[in-house]
């Protein structure tokens, strides 16, 4: 008999089925993926450059390429401002423009506001504008994207470091474990928020700075669980059996013990993601996060608080943030239930 592909473990198949059976989690996953995909294409949804321009018989892609005004017959060699009525008239003279649904980017100030900023929702600004005249909807989309990407990168990096640290401590035990645990205890005692605030008084933190600092502390979340799993796993009979076959330490860790540890890790991850997004939002809210001008859910929340007379800012941000975090929680719960050892024959005792 030829083995065509690795047989899928029926346990994993069953877990997947359990996950799908949780309708709320299943739909949440889909909604989240769709929203994330959309936000990745934020430039195509909310931009002050049109998607496509046909001018004098040729196609231009302002969404991707920067064109100087002179291309369209204008006077200045600077980048064409497609929102400028003058440029629009130039193009419309011999062509057309295809705009994305929202004709603002996150930093575009609507010069043609009839009312003082922040202005309420209108046909032009679907969710109104913030206190600088920037379109709220656009800022929400870009802010959503930044939050999710930040969260994902932070979660992934924390997981890799945390699992590695936990694995080494748990597997080798002894002095390595003692040293590691003491180090973590001390390190965990440091106040992250204050460190970040202090840092922002020296440097203007950007995406990568924030990520780096938070990563310094967020990796510790998973260590306990993974360490426990490795401490337990290294004594299992089948690990001993693998040793007698000549398997080296790394092989045993990766092949035999890690898959078990990943169960708990996977069920944690949506919640870590949730936490990361919340932390970034909190920092932005306080003003210690992303540099001013960046689109950010937290910053919009701060604006919403400062402009209670303009409820469209606060409410819409709250809804987006609440939706995002709820989706992640539902996904996490569904994953946790799917991995529940009570339904898992490998975690039970002998029949």
């Amino acid at each position: 008999m030829r083995l065509r592909r690795k047989p899928t473990n029926p346990i994993n198949r069953r877990r997947w089925r359990n996950f799908k059976a949780n309708r709320r989690g299943w739909w949440s996953l889909w909604i989240f993926l769709v929203l994330f995909a959309l936000s990745m294409g934020a430039e195509f949804l909310a931009n002050d450059n049109p998607l496509l321009v046909r001018f004098e018989g040729r196609f231009y892609l302002p969404v991707l390429v920067v064109y100087p005004e002179t291309v369209f017959g204008g006077a200045f060699p600077t980048e064409a401002d497609y929102r400028d009525p003058y440029v629009q008239s130039l193009i419309k003279a011999d062509g057309w423009m295809l705009w994305p649904p929202i004709r603002f980017s996150y930093d575009t100030i609507n010069q043609q506001l009839g009312r003082p900023a922040p202005s309420p929702p209108s046909a032009v600004n679907w969710l109104g504008t913030d206190d600088r005249g920037r379109d709220v909807a656009a800022r929400l989309i870009y802010g959503f994207r930044i939050s999710v990407i930040f969260g994902l990168v932070l979660t992934l990096a924390s997981t890799v470091i945390g699992v590695a640290a936990g694995a080494i401590q748990g597997f080798y035990g002894g002095r390595i474990d003692i040293l590691g645990q003491r180090f973590i205890e001390i390190w965990q005692g440091l106040p992250v928020l204050f460190l970040l605030i202090i840092l922002s008084s020296f440097v203007q933190p950007n995406f990568w700075w924030l990520l780096g600092i938070m990563l310094l502390f967020s990796w510790m979340t998973l260590v306990d669980v993974v360490r426990a799993e490795f401490l337990r796993g290294r004594n299992l009979e089948y690990v001993r059996a693998a040793r007698t076959l000549g398997a080296g330490d790394l092989t045993i860790m990766f092949r035999h013990v890690l898959p078990n540890a990943m169960i708990a890790t996977i069920t944690f991850m949506p919640f870590i993601l949730n936490g990361s997004i919340t932390t970034l939002t909190s920092l932005d809210f306080l003003g210690f996060g992303m540099p001013p001008g960046s689109p950010s859910l937290g910053e919009l929340l701060a604006q919403g608080k400062a402009n209670l007379q303009a409820p469209w800012i606060g409410i819409s941000t709250f809804i987006v943030l609440g939706l995002l975090l709820s989706l992640l929680v539902f996904i996490g719960e569904a994953a946790r239930d799917a991995f529940d050892p009570r339904h898992d024959p490998t975690q039970g005792g002998t029949p």
């Binding site: 008999m1 690795k6 089948y238 040793r243 007698t244 076959l245 898959p259």
Partner: protein
Amino acid sequence: MTKHDTILELRNLRKTFTARRDGKTYEIKAVNDVSLDVRRGEVLGIVGETGCGKTTIGRTIIRLTTADGGEALLDGADIFTQNRRRMRDLRLKVRMVFQDPYASLNPRRSIGDSVAETGDIHGVFKSRQERAERVAETLTQVGLDPSFAARFPHQLSGGQRQRVGIARALLPTPELIIADEPVSALDVSVQAQVLNLLADLKEEMGLTMMFISHDLGVVAQISDRVAVMYMGNLVEMADGPGLFADPRHPYTQLLIASVPRLDAAKRIAGGIEKGEPPSRFAQLQGCPFHDRCPMATDLCRAERPLLRELDGGRKVACHHA
């Protein structure tokens, strides 16, 4: 006297564990100066009760634990050295079958993967095709359909899992199999099937096996020679039928008398020997069995008897056998 082809020789093997209890540190001699040999093509049974050291011997040979003293020679080469090539040799030549069929297979790996693992680690297979073929071949050898390779441990019964454990030890063909209580966790009818399988494999493949068990009946039926262990000491070694027909060491006699038998003539009455095996923490002088032995004399209490060779190749460690 014929010179036997010895595959494994243990000389003065020693392993001591330290235990703390109520603040005091005790030294437990799990294996106390044991010397024995395993001949090519034979099944050597090692039998004894809990704490006698039989499992520790197996673990030391396969280097799951490190011996504290003595030597082990596999085909003449010392396997306790740190030499990497020798270690690799050891892993390929000597394999273990474990007791608990439910715990000794990784529940996440398919049967095929588990069986092929040794080969994978040592790069024995030249192609995926070869790997699949040899796995199928080995599964058939242990009486399982090759389609089992795609299944997972929780889908198999205890007896089937134990067969997989045996299959894992067979690929690639080893020189020596150490079976550590391979049938103790199985039902009697399944146990019989697996024992028949082991006997068949021994005949077909000329396997050499070290069969460790606490079950005297099982050991009797499969072993060529039997070694009896008590409290870390080797007390008697003889060929199977001879040992049961005429046990010389008092402990062996006690052991044989204690095995419940399907024999109408034998019935339990009251008033059997009331002695208990001494605690492992006790430090006994002299013969380890002297406090339960009906023949014990002052000599037994003072001096530990060494293994003596009697007529017919039998060895006994007793002053009065």
